[in-house]
Amino acid sequence: EAEVAQSPRYKITEKSQAVAFWCDPISGHATLYWYRQILGQGPELLVQFQDESVVDDSQLPKDRFSAERLKGVDSTLKIQPAELGDSAMYLCASSLVLGQGGDTQYFGPGTRLTVL
């Protein structure tokens, strides 16, 4: 069964350093999402792509976070500089087609970030 791949699974960094996470969605999935999940909370959407275009980045802290999906396939989420409050699980998800209401989002295993 096809899965969403993410790397690294775990990342420890010091504050003010730069970090980057990678996501490879299920082949053929046009829509890609990045979520942040703080311990004890539900995931919160950071950014949503349709192919290579950003559909929603209203909750992305743009002063330090950036995301790209250059060829409309895999994606990178970057934080620079990292802050203590960025410690969380970063989840990537993909779905087949935007606009199909109720389309299932398939989640990767996540990257757990710890900022010291």
């Binding site: 909370q41 539900g42 559909v55 929603d56 989840l91 998800a93 209401g101 109720g102 299932t104 989640f107």
Partner: protein, 115 residues
Amino acid sequence: AQSVTQLDSQVPVFEEAPVELRCNYSSSVSVYLFWYVQYPNQGLQLLLKYLSGSTLVKGINGFEAEFNKSQTSFHLRKPSVHISDTAEYFCAVSDAGGSNYKLTFGKGTLLTVNP
């Protein structure tokens, strides 16, 4: 704006007992509703979803949920739980008439099944 309230942060039960995890939502428009499960240090997996039609939805692993529009609820149930059902469960909602179908999640309910 939409919101989801999961009324119980933790639910402990004994193996083979029935369980209900409660979810209420708030929205001014029609919604789609979802339940996801998350095992430790893993991503989320869809259990079931309600889009339209029958208000009783059956999902994987013997779970089912009932959509109640008047009470704005979507409670998850299982008649007999197993140790392997121990996990975090998330209720989520999306706008059925919007343009990006963004998911809004509740804070989760930790289900612990004891022998």
